[in-house]
Symmetry: C3
Amino acid sequence: MPTKILLQLDGDLQPSVFDAVVAVDAGVEQLFRHGGITPDNVRELVHGAMFTRGPDDLRHTAIFVGGSDASLAEKIYDTVRACFFGPLRVSVMLDPNGANTTAAAAVLAAERHLALDESTAVVFGATGPVGSRVVRLLARAGCAVRVVSRDLGRAERIVEQTQAAVPEAGLSAHAVPPEEALPSVLEGSQFVVAAGAPKVQLLSRQQWQSVSGLQVAIDLNAVPPLGIEGIEVTDKAASRGEVTCYGAIGVGGTKMKIHRAALQTLFTASDRLLDAEEIFAIGQDLK
Amino acid sequence: MPTKILLQLDGDLQPSVFDAVVAVDAGVEQLFRHGGITPDNVRELVHGAMFTRGPDDLRHTAIFVGGSDASLAEKIYDTVRACFFGPLRVSVMLDPNGANTTAAAAVLAAERHLALDESTAVVFGATGPVGSRVVRLLARAGCAVRVVSRDLGRAERIVEQTQAAVPEAGLSAHAVPPEEALPSVLEGSQFVVAAGAPKVQLLSRQQWQSVSGLQVAIDLNAVPPLGIEGIEVTDKAASRGEVTCYGAIGVGGTKMKIHRAALQTLFTASDRLLDAEEIFAIGQDLK
Amino acid sequence: MPTKILLQLDGDLQPSVFDAVVAVDAGVEQLFRHGGITPDNVRELVHGAMFTRGPDDLRHTAIFVGGSDASLAEKIYDTVRACFFGPLRVSVMLDPNGANTTAAAAVLAAERHLALDESTAVVFGATGPVGSRVVRLLARAGCAVRVVSRDLGRAERIVEQTQAAVPEAGLSAHAVPPEEALPSVLEGSQFVVAAGAPKVQLLSRQQWQSVSGLQVAIDLNAVPPLGIEGIEVTDKAASRGEVTCYGAIGVGGTKMKIHRAALQTLFTASDRLLDAEEIFAIGQDLK
């Protein structure tokens, strides 16, 4: 059996150690790690993955695209896929800074407690790599989503992009602050997610606990103060009043399982392309 | 048994993935990959390979020198060898951009159909890394070689260099275009190789099929239009008129076998130095 | 059992091959090699080591800090340790350019022949990475140490730093040249170590062989002319007159054993921090 090779393509100069350890723990035998990757220098590396093994063995070579710059990673991912033709291809996973696996874990957590297709969600920090993916996954699951950002224009852009990907989605854009906007943004929602920048509190305890009908609240921030006051970073389906709460570490276990399972999926065929949706589906199969 | 370690020294900033996959498939257990290598920064790395294992175990450490710049790789290869003294040495393979393994595979293909020491070959694109090695290997095999380039001066330089390495060689330099030179360059040859730049047609179908006595034609270009019109990239001993034809992929299988076998040879002793000739000899033993 | 992962953090642009080979020979299964490391870019990499495995498995991940610039490596080592909190930590070894393992091997060699706590040592080249560590290890062992440098100010700084670390140490600073200072520096000493720059002779044969009571002389220089005339690089407990002598290669075998044993120690717990003293203690257990 050919050795399982993973080509780690990272936009950062120093390729992620986090992604490398998870790859080894997912059973990767040889890891080829490259930092400083751009759409301009990636093709030759992808050709090296495509042209070295026979079509039957290509499923033992795969590519992971990561890095802290999600937008750069997406461009690399697009360039990688454009290199393939016919049976000359290998499987690829995109997970810049864990954005896809984290978003998948957050939506899976909510799904345990809510019928997403009958719910309304409020996503704070919705324009970041994790937030925008949470929006997309929720929209695909039939959830109405309120897309919240400090900047209304950026929120509207996420709404447009998500609508283009999921035409049937029910989306609206909102700017917070001003804080006066909060009550109407929250009213009637069953699910709140905070995916904003570290150390910025987005909701006070009073603000979210007074939302009638709120069932699930997830804060993906690992560094206190968290975005949602009153949630602990280790919360894992913790009951706080009427609301089931998750913190970043509480979601992290599922994120790691999804990350490993997605990597293992890469090696089951040579044509797997794992972006947010496919990674979420892998997470659903884990349940 | 000590772990098989290969030190990959690559002149390109991103070390070759192609060479890395082949190394793993040849049985290398630990691959230390370095990009951006120059003669100036390589010594310390080579010392690390020389001074870490006892003389009896040094054959389990080896060095591969590669990269897309063949001239830089040759300088690195020379510097690596100059680091060694006494029994403090490890085996080294030079194969920048596959030039040595590709040239060896091409000459081996011809050898299956021709008595090289009784033949005359025409090498187009003879001044590039692959072409110049094809010239050298053919000259060593006793084949008369017509060295063809767009630039007569560069063709003459290859003739001089080859003559210096193989004093008994029968070599001549030719410039094409002008196209009027072609008939006399081709006349009386039994073997034609095209090792020129991609996407440049060097010979029309009419031009080579009208050469009486031509027996073998090989085009090493993988991207159409090929250098020799009428050859397919997948040709592998395909009969076209009187001529046995090979395309780049048709030669590629042998190239990969030679590449893997050469890497395995590195680990049989600590003093193997594998340049074109040694790699060609390894290819001959595979038959 | 989780795979043994070593994160190699090197201040040099090209991470050390020497350290990598020793790591593999010490049983490391996956080596993540990073060059160009600084205190500024190391945190994210350390977080990747800390946050990927459960507390029970963290002892299977470890960090090695190296590079030719010992002062930079020390800063990286400090930054790495400052990343840890609670059980979220991995073991770390500091050995820039082999300074810790070489110093440990030299002091261990002396210890075989001398009661260090009853001896006086003279350390030449005492301000370099190896020399300053030899001073510290000897001071901890209760040996009186004469710290010698070309520059009295630098020697005094090493005395101060060592005194701060080992308050009970008996230390004095000396400048040589002038050569006239030598007799008094050497008089009454039982042990002489040369850890100076390559190719600089520090002591003539006549100078050290006339020291009455001198029992051990060690030269850590591998490139002739050595620092102590009359010692051979391969000397290993060689008797020269009344003096037991060691050269760099003679000490090298013990250095390699200590280096490997220290790496293996990293994987016995998640909280090992191996600087000169801990590495020396590991060496003592090998005897």
